[in-house]
Symmetry: C2
Subunit: 352 residues, 2 copies
């Protein structure tokens, strides 16, 4: 940004006299069409002419008017991103990955929060359509109809589902949650645990089901009891109390896999409150492997889903679909891996 030039060249009343492409063209002694070509980096323009136009742009402090361009060109260089919530650090990382990829493509993200509410989701989708976004990255709110992506497609709006999927007939970028559950179960089983709980919370959606099913299947595959699924509160501060549920079972758990790291954090607190030492008296596995995992004590073993990477994948898929709307529906399900740290230990009385 050439602060100096811009300041000097700023017109008297900045609100009224916007400098336009025509001004640039005149200053450079070319037609408006030519100036437009230069801006859009067309190879049709000669180097000397191009330079004259670029000089004029700088001299006048010209700012491209994306809105006007969009009206004619039907492209807004804008992507809508709808997330169900912003406070889980997981979504912040996802958003970071999306923003980075979209920015790199020279586009801009319009952000909205659906609060995991269908009515708000509908409202923000409409608003994004009004703003003429070129595409949508949507983490569908719980209970979203399976038809929504087709709907959006019928509107001519390229879209990709991220993290959660309501249909296989639309693009989707996520992680292999079921495999992640298997990794966690297998690991705990290898430490001799048989009474393994799964602590869940939040809205029910595809990622929820995939994890629950993944848990059940992995447990069943090892002939372990697969129904110790306990619900804890959504609020981090209230999870600790719910930890007692782990012990109010026919056969108390000796290990728990958590739906996400937020739960793991809360459960760790709850175990502490009971005087139990994580990794020795009780084993704990998180899910997402968000930054905090490294700073917990003992360090949290967690299934890594790399949300920033999922975000980048989703953005890339969307960009490709915008470029080529005819593509068949695609899926990008990235692998998870179990990041083993210190929060698990052998089951009681288990000898390796």
């Amino acid at each position: 940004m050439q602060l100096r030039e811009d300041v000097i060249m700023a017109p008297e009343d900045p609100r009224r006299s916007r400098v336009t492409l025509l001004d640039v063209a005149r200053q450079a002694n070319v037609s408006r069409a030519t100036a437009s070509l230069v801006i859009r980096k067309s190879p049709l323009v000669g180097a000397e002419t191009r330079q004259r136009v670029e000089d004029a742009i700088v001299a006048l402090g010209y700012i491209y008017n994306m809105g006007a361009a969009r009206l004619r060109a039907e492209r807004s260089h804008t992507v809508g991103v709808i997330v169900p919530n912003l406070t889980n650090p997981f979504f912040a990382e996802l958003l970071g990955g999306i923003e980075h990829a979209i920015d790199t493509a020279g586009m801009v993200v319009i952000l909205a929060n659906s609060g995991d509410l269908l009515t708000r989701q509908a409202a923000v989708i409409r608003r994004m359509r009004e703003h003429g976004v070129d595409g949508l990255i949507l983490c569908p709110a719980a209970d979203t109809e399976e038809a929504l992506p087709a709907q959006i497609g019928a509107w001519g709006l390229p879209a990709v589902q991220v993290l959660r999927q309501v249909t296989a007939n639309a693009d989707y970028a996520g992680a292999d949650y079921a495999a992640g559950m298997r990794q966690a179960v297998d690991y705990l089983a290898s430490l001799g645990h048989t009474d393994i709980a799964f602590a869940v919370h939040g809205p029910v959606h595809s990622a929820y089901h995939e994890r629950v099913e993944g848990f059940r299947e992995a447990m069943t595959a090892r002939a372990l009891q697969e129904d110790m699924i306990i619900r804890v509160p959504d609020q981090l501060g209230q999870i600790a109390d719910a930890t007692r549920l782990l012990f109010e079972q026919p056969r108390p758990a000796t290990a728990v896999i958590c739906f996400n790291d937020v739960i793991a954090h809360g459960v760790a607190a709850g175990l502490y409150d009971r005087g139990l030492t994580v990794g020795r008296d009780f084993s704990l596995v998180g899910f997402d492997d968000v930054t905090d995992a490294e700073a917990m004590r003992p360090r949290l073993t967690s299934v890594s889903t790399a949300p920033a990477r999922i975000g980048e994948n989703a953005a890339r898929m969307l960009l490709e679909r915008i470029a080529n709307p005819g593509l068949p529906a695609r899926r990008n399900v990235s692998a998870t891996y179990l990041h083993i740290r210190q929060s698990c230990g052998p089951a009681p009385h288990f000898v390796t």
Copy 2:
């Protein structure tokens, strides 16, 4: 969203035949100008006419074209938000507050991440200008020139600084960081601590200076040594190791105030690694009081800055400035308060 209607009414080729205000007007048997008035909720239109137009909108699945409106009306209903980073949960909460207030005003946020880099900041500001945002909420990158807000003002773009300020001659929404430091120091002093450290990291900017100065002044006011300011790494995972710095001092610290909760989290881990019990062997105060504080064990005492509220304040200020550009520069510095939990205890050998 009337899924059913829209589906049924969707034109054959959604990309080509956009339904326009003129179509709505024809369907409702009014002129385009009248239809426009209905959409903008003008009181000039009679109830019966209004109803006819609204029916036509639903029947045709009309979507307002904000881009076209903007071109004529010079308002985009769009606000740019630039943050230096997305991973600190603090910024996620701030963003949540901004998004909520902007959404409530019927506008939309365009998000960008400056990465605390001046060059990226300049690039995203330019991009937002190209997109014709009606205003900007900017958390200025470190080392931003004092002149930038004036610059932005000269471009005719309403803007408010949030969390960090580079000049008093532009709107600013933040928290009273110095008062927060004073609350923390006073509290620790009341517990008998005299060797109090301040653990900092990250880029240097106004919020940094305000906290450091607040710390120094509060310590000096109590005739305590005010220069035990230690730098720790930016990465959460690496902070624990740096905790040793607290003890490699002429007079080792017995308490530490942290620049933010991220540091507090890392330091808590580091203290744990040394076999120290927080709240008994060593006292720890965080800053920001972000959700995690409640789930740490022992629960973290932290200076609450309520980032979501700051975000809402910033959004409100911006909306007011957009409505009334002639306003003098304003400041909204919200009070902090010390949320006392469990991470502090009396100084060694201190009797109340």
